[in-house]
Subunit: 307 residues, 2 copies
């Protein structure tokens, strides 16, 4: 089944306690595509790039079944650029540079060739842009997943509330879930968010794993305990890509299958953080992914007799 992913394709420059990079490939849609391409084809990318985006990177994506009809190229401008430095705990970072460049003009158009896709992944963008994408879909996708961030809660809350009414799954981190609802308890925050529109909520807690909620149930997946988190950039988007990739592959949008999606997403994210940027995601095989998912089973599996 086809999956539309909307988000950024960008350059990042990253500093971590382990080293620093020059300008390397980044962007939310990039990570989603690399992760999801292991599970589903075609991936229909919607993004915007400048004249400086490398042709080899576009070829690399095409080879993986990523369609680029929806990727606009602006000849006069540079690609979106972000630079940041992680603190020692890797849970917090300082943004050093944000050059919007082409992103200032991003007004995505869904190509006719993408219409009819069953799955839509809306990366973190201006909520009005996310809503505009949904409205362009002639047939509502079977599942719409969206990411967002605290910045939109502060600057575009009413637009954000509107788009939330139109999506099935919201992906946020723990701080964002708290900010969106004013509830410190994640269980209470989840109850509030599920009243805002989404039927499912995924709360990402970084190294502390992820929670999946619907009205009746909750599921938890840990992050894999790693010797080193080398670079967390893109881990959240990679998680999203693994999640929606698994859902799109199977076509099954039940809670039970979303649990599997969370595990697949967690497995993909655990690869992402092993090297700078999407480097590790380009290397891994299906066999690597299977071994990693087995590690997750071993990590949490237990048998116990009750009574």
């Amino acid at each position: 089944m086809a999956l539309i992913t909307v988000g950024t394709m960008a350059f990042d420059a990253i500093e971590t306690p382990f080293g620093k990079t020059d300008r390397i490939i980044g962007g939310s849609a990039t990570y989603v595509a690399y992760a999801a391409a292991n599970f589903v084809k075609p991936i229909q990318q919607v993004s915007i790039i400048g004249f400086d985006y490398p042709q080899e990177e576009l070829e690399e994506l095409k080879k993986r079944g990523v369609k680029l009809d929806g990727v606009e190229m602006i000849k006069e401008k540079k690609s979106f650029f972000w630079s940041g430095r992680y603190h020692e705990d890797m849970n917090s970072r300082d943004t050093l540079v944000t050059d919007l460049n082409v992103l200032a003009d991003f007004n995505p158009v869904i190509p006719e060739s993408y219409q009819g896709s069953e799955f839509l992944m809306l990366g973190n963008l201006v909520p009005a842009v996310q809503l505009n994408v949904i409205k362009q879909m002639k047939k509502r996708p079977k599942l719409i997943v969206m990411d967002t961030m605290n910045f939109w809660m502060e600057t575009a809350m009413s637009d954000l509330e509107e788009v939330l009414k139109h999506v099935d799954v919201l992906l946020v981190n723990d701080a964002e879930a708290r900010q969106l609802t004013g509830q410190f308890s994640l269980v209470k925050a989840a109850k509030s968010i599920l009243k805002m529109g989404p039927k499912y909520l995924i709360i990402k807690k970084g190294e502390h794993g992820a929670l999946l909620f619907d009205q009746d149930s909750v599921f938890f997946a840990p992050a894999l305990p790693l010797e080193d988190v080398f670079d967390p950039t893109g881990a959240g988007d990679t998680f999203a890509g693994g999640f929606i990739g698994h859902i799109a592959k199977t076509g099954d949008i039940s809670f039970e299958n979303m649990k599997r999606g969370i595990i697949v997403g967690s497995a993909m994210a655990s690869f992402c953080v092993e090297k700078f940027g999407p480097t590790r995601l380009r290397e891994i095989s299906h066999h690597d992914i299977d071994l990693r998912i087995q590690q997750f089973k071993d990590l949490v599996n237990f048998e116990i007799e009750l009574g």
Copy 2:
């Protein structure tokens, strides 16, 4: 099988965002006993109390199969008293008062009637005192579990290193594991600690769950997502009590069974935080515990086809 627990029996006064208590019952050995008594009898308590310790509390423990031959009563002194205030996130707290009182004289003697016990739970105490208890055991217990804290790493590190050589399972929180080893990565910290003596390491991460390590394997159990953590006091000791209680009940010290112990400990801790002090632990039934363990199964259980 019999379980010896060594630790404090105390009074606590607690403030949380949800309310505050007068002097209520607390102490590490208290929480361990209340949790473990659901699974194993006898529990052989080793502690020290003052003239002010309530007789009803001692009767309550006895009713649950807790032996008090090893609980010394000092007629001229008051019981250990601690008072603290939790911050809104419930992960940090300020100590308001620490009155050692009888604890300053605590030099535990293992009664003859406790000799031969198979399981020993050493609560957080001066490392030299912990070692002295181990040395009093005429027959080495089948499993020795110890708790400790950052304070001893700063003030009695060489004694702590010595006692670590004599125990099977070390219980610490994530900050303590990092401090003990100088390793930020918990996986690396675990490897270092397992070279110091313990064959098993449990790292408690509070609301973020707990990890169990041995040389070859790692297991993770989440904390139950709760609407409110009302009072975290004693949750770590209750976790320890559930863990060692399950191990002592089954007599099985394999890694597989320790995984079950971790789940039982997590379930008991999830009760502990629902009310002030050990209140909730006094109320719950075996049926409540079974239901709670089932919630843990539902929380993490998933089925996935590989390949």
